[in-house]
Amino acid sequence: MSGVSISHVNRTFAKEGPESTVALEDISLEIADEEFVCLVGPSGCGKTTLLRIVAGLDAANSGTVTVDGETITGPDPKRGMVFQEYSLFPWRTVLGNIAFGLEMKGETREARTRIAEEYLDLVGLVQFRNAYPFELSGGMRQRVAIARALANNPDVLLMDEPFGALDAQTRNVMQQELLEIWEKTKKTIIFVTHSVDEAVFLADRIVVLSPRPGRICDNITVDLSRPRDRTSVEFAELRRHVLNLMQQCRLVR
C-alpha cells in the first residue's frame, strides 16, 4: 500500500537578476502501489528535481506530494533512493554500507548483519561482503546501492538514472536484475532515465516530461508482457512512439 500522489507541484529556481528558471510547472501524477514508473525526458526537463522532491531532498514552491496520504516534508527512510553518481560510503565495507540505514534505525548488531546479508544475497554479492567500494566495478557498486536502499524496507524506491554511468552491456544486465528484484520485493519504483530504451524495457508506465518549463507531456501505459524482448517489433514500435512524443513535446512548448 504505497501509492504516490503528486498534485500541482511547481518548482522555480531563482537565478541572479530578475529571471528565474521554471523547473517544474503544475505537475500532477498518480502512481499506484507496486507500480514501476519511468520518468523520461531530455536533460534539463526537471525529472531529477521531481524525484528529489518526492525524496524530500528538495521542496516544491507549491503543490503537495503524498505517499499513502502522508504529506512529504523531508527525507525519510520510507522512501529509498539510488543516486546517479556513486554514493556508497567509501569508508564502509559493502556490508557496512547496506547496514547503514538499519544502524540509524537503532537495530542491534545481529539484526543489522542478518538483514544486510539477506539483501547482499538478493543482489548476488555475498562474496564481497567485506570489500570496500573502491574494489568494486561500477555495476557492483550500484547493486550495493540498491541493496542499501532496500535494506530499510522502504515503501517507495526512487532511482535517479542509476545505470547512466554504466556501459551498455552491464546496463542491460542490471535492468534485468532490477526487474527480478522488483518482482521479489514488490516495491513501488519511480525511475528517472533519459534512455527511452531503458524506460520501455522496465516500466509499467512511462511519463514523458517536456523541457523548460518541465511539464507532463504524455503518460503511456506499457502493456508489453515481461520478459520483454528488446529486438521485437512491438518493442521497437513503442520506442518509436515515445521518441516521437519527446520530439513533439519539444516543438509544442
Partner: protein, 281 residues
C-alpha cells in the same frame, strides 16, 4: 627491421622480476653509499681543512660525544621531557582544533562569525607567542607545550575545516534518505569519516610544525630550563661544546622522522584502508 626473436614468456618474466629486484637493491645501495660518502667528506673537511673543533666538529668527535652523553644518561631524560612538551601541545591542539574545525566546516553562520578571528591569528608565527607563553605559564612544561600547541593548532583546524567543506553532497543526501537526518548524526556518521583523510593530513603537518616549535620554545627556557632536547642544544652551545650540539641536532631530526613514520604507518594501516584505491595527493 630485423629484431631479436621474442623471448619465451617465462624467461621474459623472470628477467623482468630480476630487473625489478635489482632496481630496489640498487636504490638502497645508492642511498647508503651517499650517506657514507657524506660522512667521509665531513670527516675530511673537518680534519684537514677546517681543523677547528668549535667551528666544525668531525664525525668521530660527534660519535664520541654521543657515546659520552649516552653513558651519562641525560639523553633519555631530555628525550622524555621533550616528548612530554610535544604531547601537551599536540594533545591540546587535537582536542580544540578538531571540534572547532568541525563546527566551522558544518555550521555556516558559525564559520562566518569566527573566520575573521582565525584569519587574523593564523599568520602570527607560533614563536611570536613565546613571550606570552612564559608570562602566562611561567618557565614550565605547560609554557613549552603552549608554543607547540599554537604551532599545531592551525594546520589541524584548517584541514579539519577543509575536510568538512569538501564532503561530497551526495554522501550527505544518501545519509539523509537512509534516516540519518540530525546534524549531530550527519557529522558523526557521514562528514567526519569522509573528512578523516584531510584531518590526518593536517595532523601530520601539525606534528612537523610542532616539532620545530619545540626546539625554539625550549631554547628560550619555556620548558623549565633544565631538560629537553632543544634546551640542551642551547646549553651546550653556551658551553661551546659544539660536538654535543650536533648530537642533539641529529637526534631532533631522527626523532621527528620516526614520529612521522610511525604516524603514517598507523594511519595507512588502520584509518585509510578504504582509501587504498584512490590516487594520493
Amino acid at each position: 627491421m630485423r629484431g631479436l626473436p621474442p623471448l619465451p614468456a617465462r624467461q621474459g618474466r623472470d628477467l623482468l622480476f630480476m630487473k625489478e629486484h635489482w632496481n630496489t637493491r640498487k636504490g638502497t645501495l645508492l642511498g647508503i653509499s651517499a650517506i657514507i660518502a657524506t660522512i667521509i667528506l665531513w670527516q675530511a673537511v673537518a680534519d684537514l681543512i677546517v681543523q677547528n673543533r668549535f667551528y666544525l666538529p668531525s664525525f668521530t668527535d660527534v660519535a664520541g660525544s654521543f657515546l659520552d652523553l649516552v653513558s651519562r644518561g641525560t639523553l633519555l631524560i631530555d628525550f622524555e621531557i621533550s616528548l612530554l612538551h610535544f604531547a601537551i601541545g599536540l594533545g591540546a591542539a587535537l582536542v580544540t582544533a578538531v571540534p572547532l574545525g568541525v563546527a566551522m566546516g558544518w555550521y555556516r553562520d558559525f564559520d562566518r562569525f569566527i573566520n575573521p578571528i582565525v584569519e587574523i591569528l593564523r599568520p602570527v608565527p607560533p614563536l611570536a607567542w613565546i613571550p606570552f607563553a612564559i608570562i602566562w605559564f611561567g618557565l614550565t612544561h605547560e609554557s613549552a607545550g603552549f608554543v607547540i600547541f599554537v604551532g599545531c593548532f592551525f594546520p589541524i583546524l584548517i584541514n579539519t575545516y577543509t575536510g568538512f567543506k569538501s564532503v561530497p553532497r551526495v554522501f550527505v543526501e544518501a545519509g539523509k534518505v537512509l534516516g540519518c537526518t540530525r546534524d549531530i548524526s550527519l557529522i558523526r556518521y557521514i562528514a567526519f569519516p569522509s573528512a578523516i583523510p584531510s584531518i590526518t593530513a593536517g595532523i601530520r603537518i601539525a606534528m612537523g610544525v610542532g616539532w620545530m616549535c619545540l626546539v625554539a620554545a625550549e631554547l628560550f627556557g619555556a620548558g623549565g630550563g633544565k631538560y629537553g632536547l632543544g634546551q640542551k642544544l642551547w646549553w651546550y652551545y653556551n658551553l661551546h661544546q659544539t660536538s654535543n650540539v650536533v648530537v642533539y641536532m641529529l637526534l631532533l631530526g631522527l626523532i621527528g622522522l620516526v614520529i612521522d613514520m610511525v604516524f603514517r604507518h598507523y594511519i595507512e594501516g588502520r584509518v585509510e584502508r578504504w582509501r587504498a584505491g584512490e590516487v594520493r595527493t
